[in-house]
């Protein structure tokens, strides 16, 4: 999984019918130090994430292992909202700080 920040959402009226009812969010990847990387992904939300949330997303066939995305054309799914992380004991990110 990679760490990313939700920076927006996507609305698409014309899309594969299997993608209907899916909440699509635009996420910018962040590295382990919390710095943004020039890499974006459109992911289906499975946990109720919103703009500004730092999240984890899974890719590939793993992304289809949710009740929302099973059998759907989806290759990235947000599966957790990050509260905090540390590197070797040193706090890097704290959601509530």
């Amino acid at each position: 999984m990679l760490i990313a920040k939700v920076v927006g959402s996507v609305v698409a009226t014309r899309k594969d019918e299997k993608l209907e009812q899916q909440k699509l969010l635009v996420c910018q990847v962040h590295d382990h130090k919390g710095s943004p990387v020039e890499q974006y992904v459109v992911a289906v939300d499975s946990v109720g994430a919103g703009p500004g949330d730092v999240v984890l997303y899974a890719t590939g066939s793993s992304a289809r292992q949710t009740h929302l995305t099973e059998g759907k054309p989806c290759d990235a799914v947000i599966m957790a909202v990050v509260d905090s992380w540390d590197l070797g004991g040193e706090n890097v990110y704290e959601k509530w700080a």
């Binding site: 999984m1 382990h32 946990v47 984890l56 599966m79 909202v81 992380w85």
Partner: protein, 99 residues
Amino acid sequence: MYLARVIGRLVASQSYEGLARVPYQLIQPLDENGAPMGATLVACTAISSGPGDLVTYVDGREAALALEETFVPVDATILGFVEQATRLGEIIGREEAPA
């Protein structure tokens, strides 16, 4: 499977059903010399491991199969704590975790 170093811990209380009790760790994949290989990532762990540990992890769909709940959207899971890895008879990856 790949070799990696555990470099940190991550907490996410709001996660997909079935992942509530699964610990997350930040890992740095390593090459045959024990040097960093590619970007860091977040993995679930099927064993007890912590920062500084040398581990093996599996990616892709198989990552979920190592967990108690196997129908979960997980694409990387730590499978083993490595005591010793050798390259042409030489021990690699012994040094401490990079910052």
